[in-house]
Structure formats: structure tokens, C-alpha cells
């Protein structure tokens, strides 16, 4: 049984594009076509609006929480070509505004905290920016991958620090190379690796037949295996696995009835949530035989939640 703990009336004046729970699951950030970003405290079943952030001049596509060891930081990206990093100290204020893209910024992702305070941003201008905060100077340093995907980049996700170099012991190997995965309008998925002060294309994964909408690198469970989920307008979700982060094997998770917009891994990477145009969220997990099974679905319905499933056995 799934219980609805509480319902949050966002009060957004237009459509919501993203919602993200913070590191501890105590706060929820949402963003909307009404140009605003809102933050709710959702402790103990109640919710209060903690902040209403106005700084974008276009629909806000995505929000991302940074690791709390850097303080309370939230990044947002928007159609207005800007990325804003918000900081809470007493109240929420703009810490930094990045304006290096020439078109809508579609997706943002914080790097694993081990690497420092680093944000990857990807845009419809086809490029990906990696912006790094330098502690000493207190400034942000920008590296750019121009022309990462023709027509535009839709999504970006970081390789977990621990599995960055699978054949090396992660504990002794702090200098493991950083990797990101991106998905774009050229139907491709690309993996980029930082070498020196450059980001180079290490791999391109071809499988999708339409725009790739979302990519998500699975959290590492200390096993010698890396996993990436991707979804596309071709209605398919593909799971890519690798033993060395170099050669990748695709498995089609499922072909859905409609476009699939987003894929996201649970905290420990054992469940993948898939959502798309069919108005459902389905939860998937891998069986012992490598087969992917749908374990639950959440769909819109006519109100009441059936309460009879709980009975006895």
C-alpha cells in the first residue's frame, strides 16, 4: 500500500516542471512556467512555504539541491538562458547567476560532493557548461563543451564518484576521472570524461530513434558495475550497463505507450521510476536474472485509494 502523507498545494500560477526533495527529504523545491521557484518545508506531515524565489524571466525547467556540506544551496535553470544558484543564510538570496548559454538551459546537475561544488548545465544551444566554485577565490570557474549535441542537450547526469574508475580501488583513488552523461536532440547519449582541464567525448551510445529526453546515472553500490538509464521520445527506456565505464551494453527496459519524459533512480539505486505522457509513474527493479520487472504503478484515478490490499495474506 502506498499512503499519501500530505498534499501540497503549490500555488504556482502555471505548470510545474520539476520537483526535487533535498538531501534529507525534508524540503521540497518546485519550479514552474510562472517563472518562480518555491521551497516547502515538509517536516512531519505538514508543509509550509519557506521561500518563493523570483529571479528568472522565463519558465524554470529544473531545480537541484547541492550537498548540505556546502550549506543550503539550490540551483535552478530556465528558458531565460540563465542558471541561478540560490543560497540560504537566514533567508534565500541569489549567490551566483550564470549567463553563459545562448538558449534555454534545460537541465542541471550537481557533481558528487567529493569533487567539490560543481554544477553541470546543458542547453538548447547544444553546449554543456561545467561551473566550479573555487574556495580560495570565492569565484566560479566555467568550462564549456561546445556542440555537445546538435540541436540541443536535454539532460545531464554525473557518474558517482565511487564508480568513476571501476578497475581502481575507489578509496585509494581519489583522483578518479570525473564523468558525465548527456542526452540530446541528436538521438544520442554521450559520455564525457575530464582529462586535464578539458572534457572529452569518451563514448556515444546509439540506440534511441528519437530525441533523448532524460539520462540518469545510477548511484553506485560499491559493485563493479555502472548503470545508466535513458528515455526518449521513441517511447523506450534503455538501461546501459558497463563493467569498466568504457564499453556499454544496452537492455531495453520497456517500450511504453507514449513518450517517456523522465527516469530517476531511488537513493540506493535499486528502483527506477519512469514517468511519461501516459500519466503514470511506474517503478521498476532488476530481478536476479537481469530481467526488469515493473513492481508498482502510480496512476491518476477517481479519488479513493483501495484499502483492501492490506488484508491478511
Amino acid at each position: 500500500m502506498i499512503t499519501v502523507l500530505n498534499t501540497i498545494d503549490t500555488g504556482h500560477e502555471d505548470m510545474i516542471h520539476d520537483a526535487e526533495l533535498d538531501y534529507y527529504g525534508l524540503r521540497l523545491a518546485t519550479c514552474s512556467s510562472d517563472n518562480s521557484v518555491k521551497i516547502y518545508d515538509i517536516k512531519s506531515g505538514t508543509q509550509t512555504l519557506a521561500a518563493d524565489l523570483k529571479g528568472h524571466f522565463g519558465p524554470v525547467w529544473q531545480v537541484a539541491w547541492a550537498h548540505p556540506k556546502y550549506g543550503n544551496l539550490l540551483a535552478s535553470c530556465s528558458y531565460d538562458r540563465k542558471v541561478i544558484i540560490w543560497k540560504e543564510s537566514g533567508e534565500w538570496t541569489k549567490l551566483y547567476e550564470y549567463t553563459g548559454h545562448e538558449s534555454s538551459v534545460n537541465s542541471i546537475a550537481w557533481a558528487p560532493a567529493e569533487y567539490g561544488l560543481i554544477l553541470a548545465c546543458c542547453s538548447s544551444d547544444g553546449s554543456v557548461s561545467i561551473i566550479t566554485y573555487s574556495q580560495d577565490g570565492g569565484n566560479w570557474d566555467v568550462k564549456k563543451i561546445p556542440g555537445a549535441h546538435a540541436i540541443g542537450v536535454n539532460s545531464v547526469s554525473w557518474c558517482p564518484a565511487i564508480s568513476a574508475d571501476l578497475n581502481l580501488d575507489p578509496l585509494s583513488n581519489k583522483e578518479a576521472s570525473k564523468r558525465i552523461v548527456t542526452g540530446g536532440c541528436d538521438n544520442l547519449i554521450k559520455i564525457w570524461r575530464e582529462t586535464g582541464d578539458q572534457w572529452v567525448e569518451e563514448n556515444r551510445l546509439e540506440m534511441h530513434m528519437d530525441w533523448v529526453r532524460d539520462v540518469a546515472w545510477a548511484p553506485s553500490l560499491g559493485l563493479q558495475r555502472s548503470m545508466i538509464a535513458s528515455c526518449s521520445q521513441d517511447k523506450r527506456v534503455v538501461i546501459w550497463t558497463s563493467d569498466d565505464n568504457v564499453s556499454w551494453t544496452p537492455t531495453i527496459l520497456n517500450t511504453f505507450d507514449d513518450v517517456v519524459w523522465s527516469v530517476s533512480w531511488s537513493l540506493t539505486g535499486n528502483i527506477l521510476a519512469v514517468s511519461g505522457g501516459d500519466n503514470k509513474v511506474s517503478l521498476w527493479r532488476e530481478g536476479s536474472d537481469g530481467q526488469w520487472l515493473c513492481i508498482s504503478e502510480v496512476a491518476k484515478g477517481l479519488g479513493q485509494t483501495p484499502n483492501d490490499e492490506r488484508s491478511t495474506l
Binding site: M1, I2, V4, L5, T7, E13, D14, M15, I16, H17, A19, L21, Y23, Y24, G25, L26, L28, T30, S33, I42, H67, P68, K69, G71, S89, G90, A113, Q135, S220, L221, G222, S264, S266, L267, S275, G276, N279, K280, V281, S282, L283, R285, E286, S288, D289, C294, I295, S296, E297, V298, A299, K300, G301, L302, G303, T305, P306, E309, T312, L313
Partner: protein
Amino acid sequence: MNTSTFSADPSRGKAAEPAKTFILPDKCFKKNVGCAWGRGNKFTIYPRSQTVNKTTTNTKTDDKLLNTRQDILLFTPILRKLVNESNGTYLSLQKAAEAAKVSDNQVEFLKLSRQFRSIIRVCIENLQDAATNEGNGIEKNNLLSYITIFYSIECIWHLCEIMYIDSVPGDIVLPYLLEWVRFHFPCHEQTAARLLDACERGSEEQEDYWDTVLGMVVQGRVDVARALLKLHSATESNEFKLVDNSLRSMPVYSVYGGISTGEFTISWKHWQAECRSKLSSRVLASQPKLELIMRIIIGDYSAFESIRSKYSSWFDILGGWVMFTAPWARRHELGGAAAACAGMAPAPRSHLDDMVRALLEGDLHQVIHEIQQISDNGWFATHLTDILFHCGKLSIMDKHQTNVTSRLRDSLILEYGCLLMEHKSLWSVGLSYLASCPPEGLRRAELILERMPVETEAKAMRIIAEAKKYGLVGVAQSVCSCMCARHLSGGRLGGALCWAMRGRSGAAASRAAHAALRHYTAHAALPAQDLLLTAGSAMLLSDTLLFLGKYCDFHRLYKTREFKKAAQLLVSLITSKIAPEYFWETLLLDTLPLLESDEPVFTSNDTYEIMLCLELRSSTLDGEKADLLRLALARNLARTALAEGDGVDAPQ
């Protein structure tokens, strides 16, 4: 979610169960829908739109977000004891399993299995008490459904123990099976006791007299049945004597009885043949009830079939069936008996049926698959699988014939551990499960532990202590860094410094030290001086922290009027050039009062050094202050040069 990782093997002709669909109130999704993960089984469902509204009318949407969570039965307060106590037994079992690597430890395993069963028993009793006292109808229903769940668990565990964990002498399972039936399906026991207590001739007047006698026969309580027959008013008749004689003379096998199974089989078959001939001689025709008893003890299928409807399940007659058809049956030979009994009445198959059948057929894979469907959030599946695994009784192959037994066990424990980690007070119990499953368990523990909400300092300390217990140093550091950041953003610099040092994190220490130094430049007050002066080797975590510590020491010396030492320290801070850019002004201006002290405390060499630094960094001071400092330096140089001029090494 605590759903099985292991699908039913398709070759068993059983397709994977269709996924459960949860229906949510529809108002929230006019458009598409998205999912944001929280920790564990919590996630938020939101109306995720991929496109922008084409229409320009900015109508306020009715969109709502749903914060959802999987219901966890085990988190019901009344089941807390079960979770905690079974954890203790689980941990003892892991130790026993470790010991079993060098010596056989079956006795210990049996003891622990019984311990688990007694925990379940206590749990059921608590639930029964609570159900009796519960006034609220819905709550009462919930409690009753929990009781059903744990009854089934107790029943299956007991049978599993007999079949796989207990050592059965000679592998002759009948006495154990009878015990199982009597314990879990007591029927007529009370009536029998009442009748025997009353000890009245003519008890057949009681309406359930014959049902009770038959019930005792079917449960293998032959002595009780005989005693009841003695209470019949016609007990002195030949028919009664004949039946009594037949019951009395039934051979009972005992491993220690001194006869082999072969001999026993012969004498038992001989006894049954005699019974059969008595029956066919029709001497009992006038006493149909006695005839039925005789037909049962010769193992007549139709006789069993005729009484089956008197019992709620076929388990009740299983013991009797085995007793009167094949009392020498070994543990792995019960499948046929189960099939025979289950086939006696066209009853709808319950889940418990399926589990008992699979168990008697020796199909443990199926048993584990079935028990995963019980809505106890995996408590039973996890603990049973674990004990069977350690007993070496579990061998599960996937379709490629690779042994996945340990993977199955691990995956169940990982899921169970992760589940408990979500609970606000059971998390440390969950941690102990995850820690028993390295390496994946520890990695999962790390991911979840780092995200435990830290409401108080005490909670932070508790998380750190638990993390260190399992060697998760990274978690301890991360928690300290987060606490440090939290204090920093709240402006509590002392707390921030303290947590940075506790976590021995260089980066956090730098951040906190910078904040303290900046705070000093603005407000001329240093935080946590006691801490900084006594921190010892922790000061080496970062250059900035070291600088802060030394600077603090300078203040201490100055305050205690040890001006010479203070001056030396200040000069060394200036010349070492580790001061952050923004702190130079403060550092240089700190020389002023010392330069103007009555006794000169800076040597001429010191004064030259300070002058050099001042000129190199003059941009950090405004002109007036710089001039003031230049003047003071020049004056000090003059008096020190004069004083030193008397010596040998006057500056050239």
C-alpha cells in the same frame, strides 16, 4: 519498496504477478506526472509538464503535489518488540554461522529457530491482548489481520523447522508432524478434556462426542480416543472391545525401540490387515461410528474424505493420514500425503495452502517466493531464508543453473535493512542488517545514513557513533561537514569550527576558519578561543585554521602582557605569508600598539620585515592608516637601531 527481487521462475508455469497499481486522487494530474525520490520508500508525485502553456491566459492551475510513502506494517508500534528482538536473534545467528564454518552447529541453529518462534508467539499474544482491548472497529480489524498474518508465519516456521532445521531421529517425521498439527490446529481438545474430567458413563449423549473421538483418532491421540470410548454406555459390548483392542495393539515406531524400520513395517502391515479383516467381517455393522474409526485406522481414503468437511482445512487430517497410511514416512516423502489430503475436498486454495504444499513437497524456492507475498514487509522471508541458508538447506538455481542462494539471501536482507533504516528510531537496527551483508550493505548504509535528518547535535553524534562502529568513516566526516555548514550559515562560528575539527575535514576547517577571520575583521571578536588554543594536532587540518589558531594565541599573549612573545608571533605570522588577502590589514595594524609600547618589542630586523610587507601589501590599507603605520615603524626603527647600535650587529 520491499518487493521481491526474485521473480517466480517462469519455467514453473507461474508468470510474474502483475504489478500493483496505486490509484491517486486525480485532481493532481491534469497533465503529465513526475516522481521525485526521497529517502527509502518516500517519494513525491507531481504534475510534471514538459511543455509551456501555449495559451497566454495565465490561469492559476489546480495542481497539487502528493507526498507519498509506502505503508510499512512493521512500523506499527505494537510490532516494535518483534523487530527488536528478532534483530538480536538474527545477530546471534550470524555469530553461530561464523562458528559453524569450523564445526557443526545444528543444535545452535535449532535453538535460534525456536527463539524466533517464541518471539512470534509473544508477538501474537500481544496482538491478541491489544485486539481484545481495542474499541475502535477499524483498529481492531487491523489487529485481527495482523494476527492472521503472524499465525500463518508461526505455522510455516514451525513446519520449516521440522522439515529442515530440527534433527529428526531416523528421519521418521510422523511424531513431529502430529505435534505440528496438534499445536496449530487444535480441535476438540477442550471437549475431550471436559468429557474425561466429567468421567460420566453415557457421554455419547453429548452432541460432539463422536466428533471428539474421531478428532482424537485423526490427531493420532489414540490413548485419548480409547479413554473416551470407555465413557460410552455400550463400552462393554463386543464391538467396543474389538475397536479398543485394535487401537491398543497398533504398533508405534520408535527409533530407540530396538526394531528396524523393516520389522516395524511388517508388523504394522500385519496389524492393519487384521483390522481390515475385522472390518470386512461386518461385525461392526451395527455401530457405524465404530466402523468409521476402523476405516480411518486402515487408511481408507473415502473415510477420510467423509470427515474432511468437519475441518476447516486439510492440515487437520494430514497427521492422521500419514499415521494410518505410511507412519514410516521420511521428511522428503510427505508430498504425496499433502496432495492426497488437499484433494479430499474442493476447497478454494488459500495462500497458506500453497505455502504448506510447497513446503511438504520440498520446494523451498517456491516457499520463499510465496512467503515474500506475505504483507509483513519481508520480516519472515528475510529471517527464514537466512536461517535456512546458514543451515545449508537452501540451494536455489536460476534458469541458467547458477546457484543464486546467497544472492537471494543477501537481497532479502538488504531490502529489509534499508526498510528499517527509514524509521526514525529503528534505523540502527536496520544498520546492523546492512552491515552483515558487505560490501553492498555497507555502501547502502552509507548512502542512507548520510541522509538521515539531523535535528539535534545529539542525533549527529549518534549517527557518527553508529557509522564509526561499522567503519563508515566517510559518513562520519560528511555528517560533521554538514553540521559545520549548518552552523556557518547560522553564524555560529564556534560550533562550525568545533564540527570541522571533529570531522577532521580540511575543507570544512578552511571554510570555518575563513568565516571566523572575516568575522574578526568586521567585529573584532574571535570565536571559540578556548577550543582554538587547545585543539592540538587538529589545527594542522588546514593552513587557514592553523593561522587562525596562531592568531588566537597572539591575542592571548597580548592580553597577558607578554608583549615580546606576542610580537615575535605576530612577525612570524606576517613573514610566513599564510594570511588570507583580506586579513592583511588587520595583521599589519596589530603591530601598531606593539610598535608604540614603552619598551621596544620588535627588533630592527623585525621592523624591516614589517616595512617590506607593508609596502608589498599597501593596497590592502587605506593611505591614512598606512602612513600612520609607516610613522610608527620608522620611530621604532630609530629607537631599536639606537639601542642595537650599542651592540655588534647594527644594521648596515
